[in-house]
């Protein structure tokens, strides 16, 4: 799949933002006043910024509000609702914390739950797609969740929680990769099933339908070299997980360490998310002889 910057930024940043909101809502930290303002600005900046980035991906954003209508079937629609609910609820919670120094526990818990639900529904946009076997696996929601929670934990200055979650993130990431590598084959989709011509013999593409390119090929038939992918996996794992985890363990109470850790994590998360898209193969590639 085409690793479009807008969707990478969207999923990474909004995940981080909602992750931070989760900690805030759950009361893992309870800032008030200016500190609260700082934390909530950061969380909202990330969450809303990410959501806005996602609209860059839209061909026709004028009608974006219609995206709220199909919550009964569409994960994207659900995400839209959940994110707005989470942001609104947490907004009241934030107002309380900033201006009144109070933390409305119930509201916070609800907001945290909605934040997690938002992240999960984002992940389900991808995980639901049978056409992209690497996404269509149970570790996908988990992956989005642990990324949101570990990143959120770092931002919420929870070094020990973050450390543990980062380890889990590493495991989930590995799991997602390794499981993902076999997913396409496991679906059983091949050029033979795609064309229904397998009874004759081995099928290959002789001529594509056009010598130029098209939307489908740009969007869904993105091929990333194996070597390149391996290198990026190492980078993603080191920067998103190993390095921040070690930093947090070594300097649990240093603010500077947290900044370095989050930056490293973010770069790693972007790399991991880039790979999440770039490595994902859409079954339509079969029709183009690309897999």
């Amino acid at each position: 799949m085409h690793p479009a910057p807008s969707v990478i930024i969207f999923t990474v940043l909004s995940g981080l933002g909602f992750g931070l909101l989760t900690y805030l809502g759950l009361g893992a930290i309870n800032p008030t006043g200016l500190a609260a303002f700082g934390f909530f600005t950061l969380a909202y900046g990330l969450a809303v910024g990410g959501l806005l980035a996602s609209t860059l991906h839209l061909g026709n954003p004028k009608k974006a509000l219609l995206a709220f209508t199909q919550w009964r079937t569409s994960w994207l629609s659900r995400e839209a609702w959940l994110s707005v609910l989470a942001l609104v609820l947490m907004g009241f919670y934030a107002l309380g914390a900033i201006f009144f120094g109070t933390h409305m526990r119930l509201l916070g818990a609800l907001g945290a739950a909605l934040s997690i639900a938002t992240v999960l529904s984002t992940s389900m946009i991808y995980a639901q797609l049978k056409t992209v076997p690497r996404w269509n696996q149970w570790p996908t929601p988990l992956l989005f969740l642990v990324f949101a929670l570990s990143g959120g934990a770092i931002l919420a200055a929870q070094p020990y929680i973050a450390f543990i979650l980062l380890l889990i993130t590493g495991i989930v990431l590995l799991l997602h990769w390794l499981n993902g590598d076999g997913r396409f084959a496991a679906t059983g989709s091949t050029m033979e099933t795609a064309t229904g011509l397998g009874h004759i013999g081995k099928v290959r593409l002789l001529e594509p339908p056009h010598t130029g390119t098209n939307y489908l090929m740009k969007e869904m038939v993105y091929v990333v070299g194996r070597k390149h992918a391996l290198r990026l996996r190492l980078i993603a794992l080191s920067l998103a997980v190993v390095l921040p985890a070690l930093i947090l363990l070594a300097f649990p109470s240093s603010h500077f360490a947290i900044v370095v850790a989050i930056l490293s994590h973010l770069v790693g998360a972007f790399a991991a998310r880039w790979l999440f898209f770039a490595e994902a193969e859409h079954v339509v590639g079969l029709y183009y002889g690309k897999r």
């Binding site: 209508t69 002789l206 339908p209 056009h210 010598t211 130029g212």
Partner: protein, 943 residues
């Protein structure tokens, strides 16, 4: 939310105008939908006899052709050097004055110094008429480099050939074999026909080195080695004859198989047919055992007849055929290695043919009377049919191969019988009923007759009194005596060499001669720009009519810009290449469904109308009225009012005082309106009893006379033995007053055999087959028409560049992988091109799509368009002359009988090279006279 309400019945258009497609030469009927006066949508005309509503990809993309930014907009006069593309727009009056000032003095002194050659236009009876009136012998259309082998072999053998001359009986045939066809001219009819066959469960066998397109859907595929079809066909003949599975009755009655041959080796008539005093072919009548004229009432010709006279036994054509084709040289085993076809396969196909023709014959109840006066209750059908095109004809043995195929059809009794091959009016028409070529020039006067025709022997050659070629293309000379369509591919190279003489002006129409329609493209470009010592171009003047900014435009001195096909009158005439069906005569028109509109520029004019104007300015007979005014206001006027013979004009429909007769009749001023009302065409159905056995069927002959195809019945028998060929052989053996040059004698003796033979492609004797082991071919893409499809915004997305397809063994041997490039070398040149793998390919063959590559700067495309950077032309590797041999002569790369360009004889070697940045050769860009294309042009119509 509920389902949105849809407008299920939107108005499709304000108006439909019905005309004829010209995205290719198939001439389908189209419904052009107009909205707000603009062309919005094009679909097939359901009533049209050619396409019955269907349309191919090109046809549907016509709107993008009509709106292409590459359209020319004004007459152009060259300002930069030839090939630069630098022009100045001039007015029409300037352009025509200039052309007249060039052409008039020539006509008065040496009309042969004008050479007028046209491409795939469909007004050859008109352009030929003009050239004849001008008086130059140098006129032809493009048939010589296209498929004259197919046409000439068909006409000499059976009085008609495939495509526009005839078609398989799609409704009845049970076994169809298709040789060397990727698309052909009758694109839609062949597809419609194949669809019909497949739905009926009829069997299709494809013979082609490449298994794509039609061959992909064929039930069986013969992966033949290029250039060897003749051998394969003769092996089928061998098998069928050996088993006696041939239609003896048919051969005896309708062909010259029973005709006696002069077998006296000492006679100057040796090998010619025996005739009676009235000049009729002689056969032995089985009832009397006596020699008799073949067409006598009640005669039963004896295929095995013999005539002993003065110690010589004269035998029949059939006996000679048996002697030749029963030879073990033509056994399936003997031909297996050369053709690449296992003996078992050849034998099985022969058996299938025999089985269908004889065990599954059909009989239809149609009483008919033959030319001998005998009435038959039924018609027996042999439901096998064949079609072939350039795969067999574009070889230097193509004439004889096509002859072999026609012989096979005839042996099976499958021509003009139900289920077999059927002629379309004005065919059948034997070679003898066609004109013979004319080339006698008188300055200031018309030529002594039509330029092109079917020579019957050395007397008909176009030679000057001192034996030199009379025509610039050397058509109808000893090099290729039966070059019925001329040799357009030799014009530029001969004119450049001044051999046989120098010309002054080259007038070209609709032919991209500096690019894909020439062999040796780079060489031709040099010839067009080459100068003498004084710096003058060796071909002093070039006038060209194109509608688009093609490669050729840059090489002309004066451009007469044509309209697009939706903006002009055209006439698809029975005098020329009509749209007839086996059951009907039909012709059609094009008319301006929209006006040509080139805002801000002097505009464009239909080329034929321009010729009418020029004809008047030059004072050509036939173009000047009695009072000195132009005889024809424009081409539309000519179409309606010109008469070739009294009552016979370009269009057959709605003639006569009452505008009610199809065929003969006085001109009708409303004729074009009648055509437009009828959807752009006219059709006259052949009565049921006249629909088959046409060459011999009285009812058909009478119908044809009635409608004006000919003036008297002209029944004839098929020429399995083509006597005119023998006449040339006799000359080569030393008989007669016109003698070939020494160096051609042997070749004429071998190749102009009156019975079909096979000999290896001439290139094999010149290029070393060991050094150049691979055959290199092109195929037409169904969705692209030569160079002119490439300017089409929709079609170029489908075919924007063309890889060279390479078969398994060569792919492996070179360790190719996807994305690789190869250097491809012929004895003549080298190109470097991208390769792609294809397994369904003859193991010694590589191929690519034809004419996708473009010159930078042309067709209003960007200079880095894929067509110009990855696309390529195979033509750079093909020379119009064969590689030099020891004899110091450069032989033409053409069929020795007809002069057909042997595109597909090409042999190459291939090696992997590092990928260059673009395909080679890279030619310098041309300045575009119309700018670059830019963004999409069609705005959406208001709903």
């Amino acid at each position: 939310m509920t389902q949105p309400a849809l407008d299920l019945s939107p108005l499709v258009s304000d108006e439909i105008r019905r005309t004829t497609c010209y995205m290719c030469a198939c001439r389908c009927g189209i419904d052009v939908h107009l909205k707000d006066g603009k062309v919005r949508y094009v679909e097939g005309n359901r009533d049209h006899p050619v396409n019955r509503g269907v349309l191919c990809a090109k046809g549907s993309a016509g709107i993008m052709q009509h709106l292409a930014p590459s359209r020319l907009r004004a007459p152009l006069r060259r300002t930069g050097p030839r090939g630069s593309g630098e022009f100045q727009e001039i007015s029409w009056d300037e352009a025509l004055t200039l052309a007249t000032s060039w052409l008039k003095p020539l006509r008065d002194t040496a009309p042969e110094k004008l050479a007028f050659f046209t491409g795939r236009d469909q007004s050859q009876s008109f352009t030929g008429y003009w050239a004849q009136a001008y008086g130059t012998p140098n006129y032809a259309a493009h048939g010589g480099f296209c498929s004259v082998n197919m046409a000439a072999a068909g006409i000499y053998t059976m009085g008609g050939a495939f495509w526009e001359f005839g078609q398989p009986d799609w409704d009845r045939t049970k076994l169809f074999m298709i040789f060397g066809v990727a698309e052909d001219h009758d694109s839609n009819p062949i597809k419609m026909g194949l669809g019909k066959l497949k739905k009926r469960g009829a069997r299709v066998i494809g013979v082609n080195p490449v298994r794509s397109g039609y061959n992909a859907i064929a039930d069986d595929w013969v992966a033949i080695t290029p250039g060897t079809d003749g051998l394969f066909i003769l092996a089928l003949v061998h098998e069928l004859m050996k088993a006696g599975k041939i239609d003896l009755d048919y051969l005896a009655r309708w062909t010259n198989a029973p005709v006696l041959i002069d077998c006296d080796p000492k006679s100057p008539r040796h090998g010619l047919l025996l005739r009676d005093e009235a000049g009729k072919d002689l056969v032995i009548d089985t009832r009397t055992g006596k020699p008799t004229a073949f067409d006598r009432k009640g005669v039963r010709p004896d295929l095995g007849g013999k005539l002993r006279a003065r110690g010589i036994t004269h035998v029949t054509v059939f006996q000679r055929m048996a002697e030749r084709y029963l030879s073990p040289d033509y056994s399936p085993e003997a031909i297996a290695e050369r053709t690449g076809i296992p003996a078992e396969k050849t034998r099985r196909i022969a058996a299938e043919l025999a089985d269908v023709a004889f065990n599954r014959a059909i009989e239809i109840e149609r009483e008919w009377t033959d030319f001998r006066g005998e009435t038959h209750k039924t018609m027996t059908g042999r439901p096998v049919s064949f079609h072939a095109m350039r795969g067999i004809s574009a070889h230097s043995n193509g004439f004889q191969t096509a002859r072999a195929l026609h012989m096979l059809q005839i042996l099976l009794g499958a021509v003009e019988t139900p289920g077999g091959f059927r002629f379309k009016p004005p065919y059948p028409k034997p070679a003898t009923a066609h004109p013979r070529p004319h080339s006698n020039v008188t300055p200031g006067k018309p030529l002594d007759g039509p330029h092109l025709g079917y020579p019957q022997g050395p007397d008909d050659l176009c030679l000057t009194p001192d034996g030199q070629p009379a025509r610039i293309d050397k058509a109808f000379t000893w090099e290729n005596p039966m070059s019925a369509h001329g040799l357009m591919h030799m014009v530029i190279s001969n004119a450049h060499a001044g051999d046989p003489y120098r010309i002054d002006t080259l007038l070209l129409y609709m032919a991209n001669m500096s690019w894909n329609s020439s062999m040796n493209t780079g060489g031709v470009i040099d010839m067009l720009t080459d100068t003498d010592e004084s710096g003058d171009y060796l071909i002093p003047r070039i006038i060209y009519s194109d509608a688009y900014s093609s490669e050729m435009v840059a090489y002309a001195d004066l451009i007469l810009p044509d309209t697009t096909y939706l903006e002009r009158h055209d006439c698809i005439s029975l005098l020329d290449r009509p749209i007839c069906e086996a059951d009907a005569a039909a012709d059609a028109i094009r008319w301006p469904v929209v006006d040509p509109d080139r805002p801000g520029h002097p505009g464009v004019r239909g080329f034929q109308s321009v010729l009418c104007d020029l004809g008047h300015r030059l004072g050509l007979p036939g173009f000047v009225a009695d009072d000195g005014s132009p005889k024809f206001k424009d081409y539309a006027d000519y179409i309606v009012n010109h008469q070739r013979r009294p009552g016979i004009g370009p269009l057959m429909g709605w003639r006569g005082e009452n505008a009610d007769s199809h065929g003969r009749g006085a001109p009708n001023p409303d004729q074009l309106d009648r055509y437009i009302e009828n959807g752009g065409f006219a059709i006259a159905h052949i009565p049921e009893d006249a629909q088959f056995m046409k060459p011999w069927n009285k009812a058909y002959q009478d119908w044809a006379v009635g409608i004006g195809l000919y003036d008297a019945p002209q029944p004839y028998i098929f020429q399995l033995y083509v006597e005119p060929l023998r006449r040339f052989q006799l000359a080569a053996e030393g008989h007669g007053h016109r003698q070939p040059p020494e160096h051609l004698r042997e070749r004429i003796k071998v190749t102009l055999d009156p019975l079909p033979i096979w000999y290896p492609a001439l290139e094999d004797g010149h290029a070393d087959p060991v050094e150049f082991p691979v055959h290199a071919l092109t195929q037409r893409p169904m969705a692209m028409y030569h160079s002119w499809g490439g300017q089409n915004a929709w079609l170029r997305q489908i075919h924007g560049h063309n890889p060279l397809y390479v078969p398994t063994d060569i792919w492996k041997a070179n360790q190719f992988s996807d994305g690789d490039w190869a250097k491809v070398t012929s004895p003549h040149g080298t190109i470097t091109v991208p390769v792609a793998y294809m397994a369904a390919l003859n193991p010694n063959t590589v191929w690519t799509w034809n004419a996708i590559g473009k010159r930078k700067g042309t067709w209003a495309l960007d200079q880095d368009a894929p067509e110009a950077t990855r696309g390529f032309l195979l033509n750079h590797l093909i020379h119009e002359l064969l590689p030099a041999r020891g004899d110091g002569l450069r032989w033409s790369n053409s069929d020795p009988v007809t002069g057909q360009a042997a595109w597909f004889d090409l042999r190459v070697k291939i090696e992997k090279v590092p990928a260059p940045t673009q395909s080679h050769p890279v030619l310098p860009p041309i300045a575009s006279p119309v700018g670059q294309g830019g963004a999409r042009v069609i705005p959406k119509a208001t709903p």
